[in-house]
Subunit: 211 residues, 2 copies
DNA sequence: GCCGCACTAGAGCGATCACTCTAGTTGCCC
DNA sequence: GGGCAACTAGAGTGATCGCTCTAGTGCGGC
């Protein structure tokens, strides 16, 4: 078993979150991970980009689990939303505005620079949206309603992270959380209304990808 | 007059928007601007960081004017919101997912790395919020209501930019725009309700900074 | 014991990083 | 037209970039 490989990914994840992809050097990674330089290229022969892709997927999976934990089956989505944003705000604050989204910085940096890394961030974001979708559908929304709401929740979180880190004011995340919770409540109330129309409950049997 | 100085800033702005601060080299900047290398350090003696700060403020001011244009006095804020997000979605799409927020990438990169640059991004974001606040207060909201809504609009825009660039799907920005317009409509409806309570119209004479 | 492989260890590669320095050119003021 | 500041121009600085390469170590299977 290779603890070194894991340490490399963990160190990279922390550095990426704080200073992004191009702001993080390979040397800094191996020093942080207390790993020998040669080991990095043993485990990731394709170099920094391969380690980056792996780190994005790993960080994304962990954050995705966190989302799943808050929105766990049976939890009220409105309360889950409020609690999730409040917890995020607290983390941002306690980490001195370093720890917000683990991959947002990298996602913006690589979007027009590296297709493999861009794809990794896209897959992670898509998985987060799917997790949210699933729980919102469980709460009674149609797939279409759920997806629209998921995109809003994602955007409110990520956007408020940017604002909070730039201004060093974590209350922006809490404010976005209130708006997010309100949006969830409104959507759930609409759901009750729409129940009357059977055609609306199953608007499509299969989702087609966005064009 | 120094067209060279302007060209340097414009080139830097475009490069920052697409590839961020650390992904953009000084050499690449002077080549893009068709400026001699020496001129860069003539106009910006403190180097890349000074040019970066100037670029952030300039890009921010231009984008701020754009916000002001859409929400101009007399315009319905709901319609303005829908139009602004739709226009943003179109720009993102037409630029092949390169042009979204001019400073978001840099803002995340420098938040924990450079205090002067972080401050520049914070000032820009704050000015955008203030612009939105002003127009929303004109539409009848209290300062408190307006600020909360501005933060939501900002977050929905910036967050959906991240998602759109990563997934190469500009419809996310449109979706966030619908949610944003709905939030504005709801806030304006609440305003009518709250008009009945005079204490709510002027909840505070002076805003205290977030703690 | 010892072979073979996974992994460690770090010196050193060319390229590029932000930046400095000197020299030359331009154009306005007197 | 002489003087001077503003600006142009690019060669060259040390440091760092991502990465390659060779040598060595540790350990399980036979």
């Amino acid at each position: 078993m290779s603890g070194t490989r894991d340490r490399l990914i963990e160190a990279t994840a922390e550095l990426f979150r704080r200073q992004g992809y191009h702001g993080t050097g390979v040397k800094q990674i191996v020093e942080t991970a207390r790993a020998p330089f040669g080991s990095m290229y043993h485990f990731f022969p394709a170099g920094k980009e391969e380690l980056g892709a792996e780190t994005i997927r790993r960080s994304g999976a962990i954050f995705g689990q966190l989302i799943g934990y808050f929105y766990a089956a049976g939890t009220d989505p409105v309360a889950a939303t409020r609690m999730f944003f409040d917890a995020a705000a607290q983390t941002v604050h306690e980490s001195d505005y370093a720890d917000a989204c683990p991959i947002a910085t990298v996602a913006l940096e690589v979007a027009s620079m590296s297709e493999p890394l861009r794809l990794a961030t896209a897959e992670v974001f898509e998985s987060w949206l799917t997790t949210l979708d699933t729980h919102l559908v469980e709460a009674g929304l149609t797939k279409t309603q759920a997806r629209k709401l998921s995109v809003s929740l994602f955007s409110l979180l990520e956007g408020s992270f940017i604002l909070a880190r730039a201004t060093r004011d974590h209350t922006h995340v809490r404010a976005a959380g209130r708006a997010a919770a309100a949006a969830v409540r409104t959507a759930l109330e609409k759901r009750a209304t729409r129940r009357a129309d059977p055609a609306e409950r199953f608007p499509e049997s299969r989702r087609s990808p966005a064009t």
